[in-house]
């Protein structure tokens, strides 16, 4: 038994799992990180990262064979030949959709920290206070002041580039130098802010790409191929940042191919004593034991592990006493925005491929404004020059056409909204006991949808985008709006929410499971609301904060 005993177990190796492992190992805890999928070694295993576009047989496209093999992934951009190996197999790990939910997963060391969008925004007090003010869901047990020092802590280590924009809605962070807007973005931003009298802002995105060298990592090389894995370690990932720091302590062991099937609950101590692991390669079962457990398997799989940890005391799963486990599934609803062309600037171009865009922070339902929905949305987008295309007949084929292809086309500007989704109790995941995955484990069933508040918000998201682009001088503006299926934001949240009361929440203010205080859930599952900012930075901050608390409590003998 002793060789399977550690001070701490971390389940999952993505953004929050990597942070948990780093923090716990640095504080001296012998820690094992259990990852359900294969190992991906930093740089060495980024097999496509240094390929030129013409080295991909279909130039980065998708084949019918891929579409057949990935019935879920095919629903959006992730399915392409450049990084297919980073996405979980839909066939090995199916799920049931009572209602459509697009679930894009990364089952390997590093998880989705390898493929994430890297946009990193702090939340503001208005976000933490929203549930209480609106009487929705459960009140966040923390406020901005509780998490602000932890935002600083994780920003300094992760390396977030951004501009200090002094916006109340979007607190500034401890930034590295910002990336720059291109000439068109700068002018559009200026015109937009003038038109709206500084009530709306267009800022450079704040991104977890380092702009100066940092902790043995090379600064961003403007390749814009982040999702292939960065050979320079220029964007934050488990592999580039938290894992090397954790390994350097000598306190961390990583075990790939380890599917945690359940947390072992000891009813005498009212704590978890360890986890059961199914080896994904051998199908053998093992047990690992520890004093504290960090559950960072990603929002929906963390809930799955808790639900799968049912006992006669907790028949609905560990943490189910409130009746909220697996409920309140949130994401950011998107697929709404606008685009158009920008006249002029024909002699202007840019060099390098910036792995970042512009951001328009939330402006709706602020300062006393009341729309017919609550909360708000932000936009992400960019301006760029398209490829050559002209309606000149003589230039459509032949030698002149061939020459013209070297010329850049018109400038265009596009942006899409990220809308806050409310926590609805009836938006839930449950165990589907009629179906099993490749390893014989019950799979998840999804019953999640956008409702009235989101649908009304989406009307504004489309109209506002058009209005703002036109106000900024963009021509031929067309807005677009899709069906708003959840999951596509790849920001799953809410299935084991934090709260002030064990009757209405799964976790307390320190991310501890009310029903087993030595189990900490610090991924998207913990979120009591979704705000509209990209959430990963908040997971990082919550994780570092919870890890510090866990070690203190361990020293005091409280867990």
């Amino acid at each position: 038994m002793s060789e399977n005993t550690y001070d701490a177990i971390v389940i999952g190796s993505g953004i929050s799992g990597g942070w948990a492992a780093k923090e716990l190992a640095e504080k001296g805890l012998k820690t094992i990180m259990l990852e359900r999928g294969r190992n991906i070694e930093h740089i060495k295993d980024y097999v496509n990262a240094t390929k030129d576009p013409w080295e991909f047989p279909h130039r980065g496209g998708r084949t019918q064979e891929m579409i057949k093999d990935y019935p879920v992934l095919k629903r959006d951009y992730p399915l392409n030949e450049t990084n297919l190996d980073y996405w979980a197999s839909d066939k090995d790990s199916p799920y049931t959709e009572v209602k459509r939910f697009d679930w894009f997963r990364g089952y390997h060391v590093g998880g989705r920290s390898l493929m994430w969008g890297r946009q990193s925004y702090r939340w503001a007090d208005i976000d933490f206070e929203a549930n209480l003010k609106d009487g929705i869901g459960t009140d966040w047990p923390i406020r901005y002041k509780d998490i602000a020092p932890w935002y600083s802590y994780v920003e300094k280590f992760a390396g977030i580039s951004g501009n200090k924009d002094h916006l109340a809605i979007l607190p500034d962070g401890d930034f590295m130098p910002p990336m720059e807007m291109n000439v068109v973005e700068k002018d559009l931003s200026k015109r937009l802010m003038e038109y709206y009298k500084n009530q709306r802002a267009m800022i450079i995105g704040r991104t977890a790409n380092i702009t100066v060298p940092h902790n043995n990592r090379t600064n961003c090389q403007y390749r814009n191929k982040c999702w292939l894995g960065c050979p320079f370690g220029a964007y934050f990932s488990t592999q580039s940042a938290t894992l090397p720091a954790a390994m350097a302590t000598g306190n961390l062991k990583v075990r790939p191919w380890s599917i945690v099937t359940r947390i072992l609950y000891d009813k005498d101590t009212k704590k978890a004593k360890g986890v059961e692991v199914l080896d994904a390669e051998t199908n053998k079962t093992y047990e690992y034991y520890a004093k504290i457990i960090f559950l960072n398997a990603s929002a929906l799989n963390s809930a799955w592990i808790l639900m799968n940890s049912a006992t006669d005391i907790w028949p609905g799963g560990l943490g189910s006493s409130s009746g909220e486990l697996g409920h309140n599934v949130m994401d950011h609803h998107l697929g709404v925005g606008a685009g158009g062309t920008v006249e002029g600037y024909e002699d202007k171009y840019y060099f390098g491929r910036r792995a970042n865009g512009i951001y328009i922070p939330r402006y709706r339902n602020l300062n006393g404004e009341k729309r017919d929905y609550i909360r708000g949305f932000g936009y992400q987008g960019s301006a760029g020059r398209e490829n050559w295309s002209r309606d000149i007949a003589e230039l459509n084929i032949g030698g002149a056409f061939k020459d013209a292809l070297t010329e850049p086309g018109v400038w265009s500007m596009g942006m899409g909204g990220f809308g806050e989704t409310l926590p609805y109790h009836e938006n839930k995941i449950t165990l589907d006991k009629t179906r099993k995955d490749k390893w014989g484990l019950n799979i998840l069933s999804f019953d999640v949808e956008v409702k009235d508040n989101e649908k009304k918000m989406r009307i504004d998201m489309a109209n506002d985008a058009k209005e703002m682009l036109e106000a900024a001088g963009v021509k031929n503006v067309h807005s677009f709006s899709t069906d708003g299926v959840l999951g596509r934001g790849i920001h799953e949240m809410g299935t084991a929410r934090m709260g002030r009361d064990p009757k209405s929440s799964v976790l307390n203010e320190w991310n501890q499971v009310w029903d087993a205080k030595n189990v900490f859930v610090t991924d998207g599952a913990a979120m009591a609301s979704s705000a509209c900012q990209n959430p990963s930075l908040t997971y990082m901050a919550l994780t570092a904060r919870a890890a510090a608390h866990a070690v203190e409590e361990l020293k005091k003998g409280n867990v």
Binding site: Y222, I397, K402
Partner: protein
């Protein structure tokens, strides 16, 4: 450099990484073995001649030099679904028949000017996008034409030749320059 490396580099230089097995046809040129769609030697020759009309050899390499016809076939074979493949082949057959009927010859046997005129007529009304069209246009010949053109242009602008000899491309730019004049984008000056 050993022979294998030389061959590999050569393959990359000529537009590259098209790894389709090929076989030698009746006129001595090689043809691509397709897995999912039936495009015979005549069809493949037509596609190659169309691609060469769209991206002709001038002072710089043309579609055939850059192996773009094989790329077009690969994309149709691997990336089109059955419905689109069928529509493509139907359009190809209709186009072949129309050319035979109107000119009494195969497309490739016509002069450059005639070939250009034929394709230009299909272009109208001008369509701004050079990328493959998502929705299949109703006219089979137009659909077939845009399939060939879209993939030819896509293959050309993503070819090693184009990206290393025509435009300024760097795998590792290392910097983001906001004020970069258009005049510096091309490697060759007109």
């Amino acid at each position: 450099m050993n022979r294998r490396t030389v061959l590999k580099n050569l393959a990359l230089v000529i537009g590259g990484a098209v790894l389709l097995p090929s076989c030698v046809g009746k006129d001595g040129t090689s043809y691509v073995k397709l897995k999912h769609v039936n495009i015979d030697e005549d069809g493949q020759r037509l596609i190659a001649d169309m691609a060469e009309t769209i991206i002709p050899k001038t002072t710089t390499p043309g579609a055939k030099d850059l192996n773009l016809p094989a790329f077009v076939l690969l994309m149709i074979d691997d990336c089109y679904d059955n419905k689109r493949q069928e529509a493509f082949v139907a359009g190809m057959k209709a186009f072949t028949a129309k050319i035979k009927n109107e000119h009494g010859k195969e497309f490739g046997d016509l002069g450059t000017k005639t070939r250009e005129t034929i394709l230009m007529a299909i272009e109208k009304p001008p369509v701004t996008k050079t990328k493959p069209q998502k929705n299949i246009p109703p006219d089979p010949i137009t659909n077939f034409y845009w399939g060939v053109k879209g993939q030819t242009v896509f293959g050309y602008t993503n070819s090693q030749y184009f990206m290393t000899k025509e435009i300024v491309y760097e795998l590792v730019p290392g910097r983001y320059i906001v004020h970069y004049p258009v005049s510096k984008l091309k490697l060759k000056t007109a």
